[in-house]
């Protein structure tokens, strides 16, 4: 159709956007990330950090965005597509993290690992997480959705308390946690002996560190972290691609149908139990991957008293709700917005405010913060919020969530029509001759409505 009017072309574009077209989504994500990088770089510069400090600020933000994106994408497959209410995300991430430590950790350290190569460790961690998911879900998937939620939250706590159990200390490190994780692949890339902290860099390492030194970045650890973060972004890209393919297919269509009305899906001949088990295992495997790459390889230390608390599950849910459940692009976007703007940015606020020299009063208690309000003096409250921003951000997140639920329950991108199909259903290019032209006009009208 070469003779289409600009208006038609525009509506075609809109239709493609509302169908979740690949290129627009990629650019949307890219724009978001560039904006976040600029914002965090600006924060770092404003606070007077050196180049390394600014890079570090940006790197730690990107890392958090990437790992959140991974976990949120996994949850989106289960909850967004199939409506499986898994509130044990933290538990499955724990399984992944501990499993990669156990499979690929050094046999000489305590708790001892098996010392298997890292790829085997990561794939093994995903498989183990999938099997644990199967165990949790198998009895519950046959029942109504609410039971799955209870079973998964219970499973998640069982996993965490198991990790804490003293008899398992040789494997999990019990209350001490474990630091026995394989060296992350970025270290392997740059060091002769990646497991050894004092190792000399290899040729690649020398070259890369040299480049950064010429820009005044002397911290080799930062370079390693940055490289690892870039690798993580590649993994996010792969998982995004996998989720998209899974969703935009007849398989994804059945998942959506299960979410909408399981009995109808069954009446149309779909073995819904098999579909649910498959997607639940896939989602758990990806959560395991997220745990392995985040707390495992990324942080390099895991402690069941502070990591993998149920609150982590809720963060991931909030990120998915912000982004728009059911949308893969929304999942990544939600992960980015939550991790960067809601989780990380507030921690810089008290430092930023300090630069203004406002001499804010610093009340010690809530009562001291609120009572001056009676005499129309809001400053103590502002000072109180700024001083306690680390805790306050969770109140802010809660308020935001309530606001979202009331005003934008679909999240940022959940309102879009993301049609589950491997082909554009509105097109009928197989129709012969003149019917194609008439259909073209009509289908555009249909897609245009939203």
């Amino acid at each position: 159709m070469s003779d289409e009017t600009p208006r038609e072309r525009f509506s075609g574009l809109r239709a493609r956007f509302s169908q979740g077209g690949g290129t627009t989504d990629a650019s949307l994500l890219l724009v978001t990330m560039v904006a976040l990088w600029a914002l965090f770089a600006a924060v770092g510069m404003y606070l007077g950090y050196d180049t390394a400090g600014v890079l570090g600020t940006v790197q730690s933000m990107t890392f958090l965005v990437a790992v959140y994106a991974l976990a949120v994408l996994a949850l989106n497959l289960q909850w967004g597509y199939a409506g499986l209410f898994n509130i044990g995300v933290a538990g499955f991430m724990a399984v992944g993290a501990y499993a990669v430590g156990f499979l690929s950790g050094s046999p000489d350290a305590t708790p001892a690992g098996l010392g298997l190569p890292l790829p085997i460790g990561i794939i093994g961690a995903m498989l183990i997480a999938a099997v644990v998911g199967l165990i949790a879900a198998f009895p519950a998937l046959r029942l109504r959705a609410d039971y799955l939620a209870i079973a998964t939250v219970a499973m998640s706590e069982i996993i965490r308390t198991t990790a804490l159990a003293r008899p398992l200390a040789p494997i999990t490190g019990a209350g001490q946690g474990t630091r026995n994780f394989p060296a992350n692949p970025a270290r392997t890339l740059y060091y002769e002996n990646p497991a050894d902290v004092t190792s000399a860099p290899n040729a690649v390492g020398e070259a890369v560190f040299g480049v950064f030194e010429s820009f005044g970045v002397m911290r080799t650890n930062l370079v390693v972290d940055m490289t690892y973060t870039v690798l993580l972004l590649v993994v996010v890209g792969l998982v995004y691609w996998l989720s998209r393919r899974t969703g935009n297919s007849p398989f994804g269509r059945v998942l959506k149908a299960i979410r909408e009305d399981e009995l109808v899906a069954e009446s149309l001949g779909k073995d819904t139990r098999m579909f649910k088990i498959k997607i639940f295992m896939l989602g758990c495997a990806l959560m395991g991957l997220a745990g392995a790459l985040w707390q495992g390889l990324g942080n390099g230390s895991v402690n069941p008293t502070t990591n993998f608390l149920p609150v982590l599950t809720f963060y991931i849910f909030i990120a998915l709700i912000i982004g728009g459940s059911g949308s893969n692009t929304g999942s990544v976007l939600g992960g980015a917005v939550f991790a960067a703007l809601l989780f990380l940015l507030p921690t810089y606020i008290s430092n930023i405010v300090a630069t203004f020299n406002l001499r804010l009063p610093r009340p010690n208690s809530v009562i001291d913060a609120f009572t001056p309000l009676l005499s129309a003096d809001p400053l103590p409250l502002v000072g109180f919020v700024v001083a306690n921003i680390d805790s306050m951000r969770f109140i802010i997140i809660g308020v935001l969530l309530v606001w979202l639920m009331q005003n934008r329950p679909d999240g940022l991108l959940g309102h879009r029509k993301e049609v589950a199909s491997s082909v554009d259903l509105m097109r009928r290019d197989r129709t012969r001759g003149q019917t194609a032209a008439t259909d073209g006009g009509r289908t555009q009208g249909g897609a245009d409505d939203e």
Binding site: P250, F251, G269, L425, M426
Partner: protein, 316 residues
């Protein structure tokens, strides 16, 4: 009441009241024997079906059969056991006793998806669409056994046949080498065409891109029928398709049913409304208090004293 005549009943919509109906409580082997000897022209056959909920017997030893290419009506006053019978056939309920045969095969107690995969597909009394899926998605969901319903096929890119192969070699290549996503998109393109054609047949193709949730009640009914057709059924179970439907749409729906019946599709229509059944079904089964009260053509039923009593005696 069961008809076990040996000769295939192809055209006649009439079933004899005579015939050697098996006694209730016949041994299973005899039941299976009956199933085997069921002529091909009788796709659905219910034998001594019984369903109890606790102490309440909803269906008490009902037996009937539906002939190929017929539009058979199942009526009865409220509480006659129509819906329970329907649900026992469709696999939602498991019968307490008795048998359901579909095309000579015992399908008693199968799960809903297994029944549907035999080619016996149902609709719902209150049209149940996937509201957050578009009309086309609803349609594309329905076809049975799609390549892309396998997670592997949906994700893995296929390996195309090398160009230097000739056509027959290519075909063999595509059989042996996993075609993954390539096969999925190819099938989806074909199904998409069929979905559009079916939507056109039901005159709702202008709604193709809309969410099913934004359709009116009547449009939903049409979509539900269209969706059932996409499964390529042998036989369709219609659960009160005309409940709450305005007369114009009712006419439209019935026209479609008659069109499809002429193409060889079999229908079992469960309806509350006497008139609809009388005017449209060539064969009518009347249920009352869980059993089959009467069976026959519209005129027979209309003049059957027991039917009149049942309807006037209980509810309208």
């Amino acid at each position: 009441m069961s008809d076990t005549e040996e000769q295939p009943v192809e055209t006649s919509g009439e079933t004899g009241e005579s015939g050697d109906a098996p006694e209730p409580g016949t041994a299973d082997s005899a039941v299976e024997e009956a199933a085997k000897t069921t002529p091909r022209g009788v796709p659905l056959r219910i034998q001594n079906l019984r369903k109890e909920f606790g102490g309440i017997t909803a269906v008490a030893d009902a037996s009937f059969q539906v002939e190929a290419g017929s539009l058979t009506g199942l009526i009865g006053p409220n509480g006659a056991g129509k819906s329970t019978t329907f649900n026992c056939i469709a696999g939602v309920h498991r019968p307490t006793s008795g048998k359901v045969f579909f095309q000579g095969e015992d399908i008693t107690g199968l799960r809903p998806e297994q029944v549907a995969n035999k080619g016996l597909v149902r609709t719902f009394q209150i049209a149940r669409e996937m509201e957050d899926m578009t009309v086309l998605e609803n349609m594309m969901l329905a076809p049975r056994g799609q390549v892309g319903e396998s997670l592997f096929n949906s994700v893995v890119p296929g390996i195309p046949a090398p160009r230097f192969l000739d056509d027959s070699q290519r075909q063999r290549w595509e059989r042996v080498v996993p075609q993954g996503r390539r096969a999925v998109t190819r099938q989806e393109e074909d199904l998409r065409e069929r979905a559009w054609e079916t939507l056109e047949f039901f005159e709702i193709d202008h709604l193709a891109g809309e969410y099913a949730g934004s359709l009116s009640g009547g449009q939903r009914k049409l979509l539900e029928m269209a969706r059932v057709l996409m499964t390529d059924p042998e036989m369709v179970l219609l659960d009160e398709p005309l409940a709450g439907v305005n007369p114009t749409l009712e006419k439209k729906l019935l026209k479609r049913v008659h069109d499809l019946r002429e193409e060889g599709l079999t229908f079992l229509l469960v309806e509350h409304d006497m008139d609809v059944i009388m005017n449209n079904c060539e064969h009518i089964i009347v249920m009352h208090q869980g059993t089959v009260l009467a069976e026959g053509e519209a005129d027979d039923i209309r003049n059957d004293d027991r039917v009149i009593d049942a309807y006037l005696g209980e509810t309208i």
